[in-house]
């Protein structure tokens, strides 16, 4: 499936996680806020995030203009952009985001 077709199947929730994750990841403060949140002892996905943290960081650090290339590279490793971004944990409201 060509990349443009694959992207069409991403839900708005998935797209929002990717977009806003990347937006915040650009700054030291934003990155710190996200990591503190996802590594918080009460975050239900903490353990899973720790397991897949390198791939999450790779996706968040990537330039969106290169997403097609990233998707191809990830496929060589048994992933895809779609499956990798699913490992970006959600933001849990009851854990303060600050």
């Amino acid at each position: 499936m060509i990349f443009a077709e694959k992207i069409k199947y991403l839900s708005y929730d998935d797209l929002a996680k990717l977009e806003y994750g990347r937006l915040l990841w650009k700054s030291a403060r934003g990155k710190s806020l996200l990591l503190n949140h996802w590594l918080h002892f009460e975050h239900p996905h903490r353990e899973r995030f720790m397991e897949f943290q390198p791939i999450v960081e790779r996706v968040l650090s990537a330039d969106p203009k290169n997403d097609e290339y990233l998707d191809q590279e990830l496929e060589k490793e048994g992933w895809s952009l779609r499956t990798a971004l699913r490992e970006i944990p959600p933001i849990i409201g009851r854990i303060p985001f600050r």
């Binding site: 708005y12 797209l15 929002a16 990717l18 977009e19 806003y20 937006l23 915040l24 650009k26 700054s27 403060r29 934003g30 806020l33 933001i91 849990i92 409201g93 009851r94 303060p96 985001f97 600050r98």
Partner: protein
């Protein structure tokens, strides 16, 4: 279960004013585009309409490219203190959402400054078009609410015809199902 208490036009105005004050206090500037039922409520408030939505909403849907606004949005999601206080939450939407809008929505948008927060809102008709296209009962009830409170008064016949066409397409699509 998310709470569903976004109903009154003033609630959206109060929220935006608060965010504007917060950003101003932080010495930051930001911008967001507001869509969905919260945007319809925004228009209602700008037109001094106080009638609440016919069906409450559980969230407001802003879109932003600014980290400071995204940070506020992430702190106001489901289960947050923001939701506990306000009875509804913020749901950050991706830029892709705007591809559902009329290509000329920017030419007809409204803007308003709240402190150092600039808010852009598509016009009522452009907000309604994706809702009518979805055709879900809640979206159609919001369309009826817009008509009932007079938010389409004064809209040009040419612009209104966009709604008529959308309704007509929606009816055809319903019948074919």
């Amino acid at each position: 279960m998310p709470r569903k208490e976004l109903k009154e036009p003033r609630q959206v105005e109060q929220w935006l004013a608060t965010w504007g004050q917060i950003l101003h206090a932080q010495n930051k500037t930001g911008e967001l585009i507001l869509i969905g039922s919260a945007a319809l409520l925004w228009h209602a408030h700008q037109n001094n309409i106080t009638t609440g939505l016919s069906e409450n909403s559980m969230d407001a849907d802003p879109i932003t490219n600014d980290e400071c606004v995204a940070e506020l949005g992430y702190a106001a999601g489901i289960g947050s203190e923001f939701e506990a206080i306000n009875g509804w939450h913020i749901n950050l939407m991706p830029q892709q959402t705007l591809s559902e809008f009329h290509p000329e929505w920017k030419s007809h948008q409204s803007t308003k400054q709240y402190g150092t927060l600039k808010v852009r809102v598509p016009c009522v008709v452009h907000l309604l078009l994706p809702k009518i296209k979805r055709g879900e009962p809640r979206d159609m009830r919001h369309y009826q609410w817009v008509r009932n409170v007079g938010l389409l008064d004064g809209v040009s016949p040419e612009t209104l015809s966009l709604l008529d066409e959308a309704i007509s397409r929606q009816s055809v699509s319903e019948k074919s199902e």
